[in-house]
Every structure is written in C-alpha cells, then in structure tokens.
C-alpha cells in the first residue's frame, strides 16, 4: 500500500490478509473492527497500517505466550510431559527437539515410546533418543500404551530423571475410540502420580485450517491440555488459527517448530508471530 484512507475497502483488504493467514472470518472481522475503532477514514501509510494490524494481532497473542514451566519435584519423581495431537502433526519430532533443549539446560530426560501402533513409530523415537542421548522406554508393537506410560514413570523415578516425555500415537479428535484410549493413558498416569501429567502439550500443524479449533476443544476436554506447540512454521503457512484459539481459549503457547532438525524449536514470541501474520518481514 501507499498512503491511503482507512475506509471500507482498506479494511476489507486487511481482513483478507488475516483470512489468508487462517484466522477465520470471525476473528479476522473482530480484529479489523478493533483496528478501525477511532481511526476510521483517517489517512495512514501502508506500512503504518500493517504495523497497527500486527499490534492488534499481538494484543490477542501476547497473553498466551508463556514459557513451559518445569516443576522441581522433591520426592524424586519426574516432571511428566504428555505429547498429544492429530496424526503427523509433529509430536515425535518435537519430543526430540525438547530433549535436546532440556539436556542443554542440564536436565536429565527420559523418553517413553507411547505410540505402540504406527509402523516404526518406536524406532523413530529411538533415533531421537540416540541423537539426544536420552534413554527410551519401549515395549513391543501393539502393547498397551497406558501400561507403557505407567512403567516409564516407575523407571524415570528409579533413575531420578528430571523429565519424562511420553509420546503418543496420532489420533483425530472425532475418533471416539482413540480418544477413549487417550483418556485411559491419562488416568493410568494419575494412578502413579496424582499430580501428573504435569504438562499436556497439544501439537498443532501450522498448515491446518479451521479444524485446529476443534482439535484444541476436544483434546482439552479429554486430556486436559496445558499448552500448545505449533510446528511447520518454516513454510508459507502463517498458523493464524492460533489467534482464533487464543481469543477463544486463552490456551498458553510455548514453542514453535521451524524445521526438522534437532535445533529447530523456538520459544513462541507473540510479536514475531503477529508481524508475520500481518505480512511484515521479520
């Protein structure tokens, strides 16, 4: 844009930018309305408009940008992180990246191969275990994921590990039998330690559109999601559904994934995210 009036046409263009970033109609409209408030029909430069747009998006995201807190536990039991989400979102890879990060912070990590279903899912996690020098608790393919999680908790406690990360099989939130299985995993974890799982991280794929809202709602109901990780932001998808999710659920967002490598995990920074949505270069 060059200098132009903040009129209906301009506002429609701004709304379109937001829609193309996957914010959805409702959230896009709310944000452009807020943007127009007090500025309607004023002259603004193109860059200014995008900056204001980024500011409005940031206003929604800033309250949810929260680091992942790891509790220090005095009874020697680990901080348990349960990784959940739909198929292919990036759960296993994110566990690998997190293991690297925790190691670098001097925390000892253990991984549990809770995806006992998908072909070679256990081997995939084992490779991440090797890469990050983290022991992996695994059972044979087809065994009960909840039982595996329980055993891993015993083992992590015995070894005095700081953090246990439990991988799970991907599941679509409308598949009730698979969601019941997830509910059972949480229930069995609680039998071991009433306060666990201490973090339940829902992994969202940035290329996903409006369905991510359903994912947050149903996974939260079943498994008590405590925070979000958004992956695959190294592409052209902007992940704007996160704005709609934040507006509606105020769910903390901890990390973003920006590649397939072990270091490709960054803390979620609302300002950068908002600027990218508004189409401003980093």
């Amino acid at each position: 844009f060059t200098k132009r009036k903040l009129d209906d046409d301009t506002l429609q263009d701004l709304e379109d930018i937001l829609i193309q970033a996957d914010l959805g109609v409702e959230t896009a409209m709310t944000i452009t309305e807020r943007l127009a408030d007090g500025r309607y029909n004023k002259e603004v430069s193109g860059e200014e408009v995008q900056k204001i747009l980024a500011d409005e998006v940031n206003a929604v995201l800033e309250p949810v940008a929260k680091p992942l807190e790891i509790s220090s536990r005095d009874d020697g039991s680990p901080h348990v992180i349960l990784m959940i989400g739909v198929n292919g979102a990036g759960k296993t890879t994110t566990i690998g990246k997190l293991a690297q990060k925790f190691n670098a912070e001097g925390k000892s990590v253990m991984l549990a191969a809770g995806d006992t279903f998908r072909a070679a899912a256990i081997d995939q996690l084992k490779v991440w275990g090797q890469r990050t020098n983290s022991p992996v608790v695994a059972r044979e393919v087809g065994s009960d994921a909840a039982g595996l999680a329980f055993d891993a908790m015993t083992e992590a406690k015995e070894q005095g590990r700081d953090i246990l990360m439990i991988d799970t099989a991907g599941r679509l939130q409308n598949r009730t039998e698979l969601m019941a299985e997830l509910e059972k995993i949480v229930r069995v974890i609680k039998k071991h330690d009433e306060s666990a799982p201490h973090s339940v991280l829902l992994v969202l794929d940035a290329t996903t559109g409006q369905n991510a809202l359903n994912q947050v709602e149903i996974f939260s109901k079943i498994a008590g999601v405590t925070g979000l990780v958004m992956t695959k932001l190294d592409g052209t998808a902007r992940g704007g559904i996160l704005v709609a999710i934040s507006a509606k659920h105020k769910m903390p967002v901890h990390f973003i994934g920006v590649g397939e490598g072990v270091e490709d995990l960054e803390p979620f920074k609302s300002e950068d995210f908002a600027r990218a949505i508004a189409g401003l270069a980093e």
Partner: protein, 297 residues
C-alpha cells in the same frame, strides 16, 4: 459448530423478495453468506472469489420455481457449481504404460505419503492383481524407510531392500531396475516430506522425477489444510507436474475446503481419499460427497 448454509440463506431470504426472479441484490446478499461458509470450510480466498463470481453469473435472473424456496435454489446452484469445479469421479490410477509403471508420491511433511503408498500398493495388488514393489526414498526422517518396510511386511507387499548411505536418486534407480528384473507391474516411490519453499529439496524431487520418469506423480495432502493449500499445490505442480491428488484424513471432522482450492489451482483430479490409518482405509473420490461436506450438509 457451523450453521448449515441452507439455514443461513433462509434467514437472509426471509428478509428479501420472495417472488419472481432472483435479483442481483438478492444474489449478492446470499453470496456474502456463501463466501463466509466457504472460508469457514477452509477454501482459499482467491478460489472463493472466482467461485462466487461464477455462481453469481448463473444465479442472477433465475426464476424461482414455486416448489422451492429461494434459499434452496441458491444452495442447489452453489452445490452444483462446487461439484462441477471439484471435477469428475472415477479418475483411477493410470497404469496404461509399459511395466513396471513408476508412481511417485510427493507432499509436505506428515501429509500421509508413506501410509498412502502402502494403501495404493495394497489396492493395486488385491483388486487389480498387480505385482507391486514399494521403495522409500526418504533417507532423512528417522525410521522412514523402516516404516515403509514394516507396512510392506504387514500387508504382503514387497519392498526394496534398504541400503545404508544411498541417496534418493540412487534408490529410485535401483528400484526401477529391481522392478524390471523382478517382473513387477508397478513401482511405488515414496519420497521424503518437503516444504514447497525448501529449494534444495524441491530440486532433489525434480531429479528423482528425471531418473524414474513416473507415470503418475501424486500429491498427498492433508484434507485439514487451511489457506496454504493453494501455495502447496501450485508449487508442487510447477516443480514436478503432478498428475493427481490424494487427500488424507478425510475421516476427520474437517470441512475439507482444501480439496476445492487444490483442484482449482492445479486443474489436476482428486484421485483417492485416505479415510483412516489402516492400509485398507482408502476410498474413491465422489465430488457430491465432498461438496456436501464443504457446505456442511
């Protein structure tokens, strides 16, 4: 979660003229709701625009017949236009070339390529009595080759033995040779996931295509994809010339507007739908069903 388009349109038309032909202002009001419904179903904005233009052309001036309401009339026009744009059904995998027929699977990370490779191989083997060899060219993702090997073992489909240290083009070469020597009808090439702006990986994909000269190049895409679907489909099509689209996770509760987006920007047919994680969870594409779902009907 969403009101169905019919309900919304009835609400609109209640306030508008109910008799005679659909006026331009009636249609415009209705199309605002259609636009919204399509965006909520994840149809890409540019595609929504051209879609509503086409519906408008057809709708203005149409006589509303007595037996239906104007809302029903517009819903039908929208539905028919969706079906038309989604394309015809029954576009099966084309094997009409000397054996072994190479089929290459491409797409973003985690879209469902490896699973769909096994599904298609199983279908060709059991339904069409073809002898199929599968090869994984994914030397990057941990245990990716092992994943395809296990799927082969579980479903009785042969896989190319894994040789450490080979690159994707070398594996493609070896697969085609093994396909010829072993008397296979079809060779399925599963490739690593890649993001469409990752230049080295897009180049690598084009090199694999040169080596294998695939008869089918199928873009495997998640039906839950949002607005990015157009960028993905366009980029993959430009770089390798896809011959069709396989949509996965259709067993989810997404509205699946990405199907329309990808079809519209590439003009390539949607060939198959993945409807689950198991190897037999593969269905043929029916435009009416997908159209109905996009409209929440």
């Amino acid at each position: 979660m969403f009101d169905s388009l019919s309900d919304r349109l009835s609400g609109i038309f209640d306030k508008l003229s109910k008799r005679g032909a659909l006026s331009e202002s009636d249609v415009n009001a209705a199309l605002r709701e259609v636009r919204r419904a399509l965006i909520e179903a994840d149809v890409a904005l540019d595609v929504v625009r051209s879609f509503t233009e086409q519906v408008k052309e057809k709708a203005v001036g149409v006589e509303v017949i007595k037996s239906v309401s104007p809302a029903q009339m517009v819903v039908k026009l929208v539905h028919d236009q969706l079906v038309e744009m989604l394309g015809s059904e029954g576009q099966v995998i084309d094997l009409n070339t000397p054996a072994p027929v190479p089929i290459m699977m491409v797409g973003l990370q985690g879209s469902g390529k490896t699973t769909s490779t096994a599904k298609i191989a199983l279908r060709l083997q059991t339904r069409d009595k073809k002898k199929v060899l599968m090869a994984s060219l994914d030397t990057r993702r941990p245990a990716a080759q092992e994943q395809l090997r296990v799927l082969g073992e579980q479903n009785g489909i042969e896989t190319l033995p894994i040789v450490e240290g080979e690159g994707p083009t070398q594996i493609a070469n070896r697969a085609m040779n093994a396909g010829r020597l072993g008397g296979f009808d079809v060779v399925m090439l599963d490739t690593a996931g890649r993001i469409h702006i990752d230049e080295p990986l897009m180049v690598e994909m084009a090199e694999v295509r040169k080596v294998a000269n695939p008869h089918e190049i199928l873009l495997v895409a998640d039906s839950l994809t949002g607005q990015d679907a157009v960028n993905v489909a366009k980029s993959f099509d430009e770089r390798v010339g896809i011959t069709g689209i396989v949509l996965t996770r259709v067993d989810g509760d997404g509205r699946g507007g990405a199907a329309l987006s990808m079809r519209a920007v590439t003009g390539k047919p949607i060939k198959l739908l993945g409807v689950g994680e198991k190897a037999d969870a593969l269905e043929e594409f029916h435009p009416e069903r997908v159209a109905g779902r996009i409209l929440g009907m």
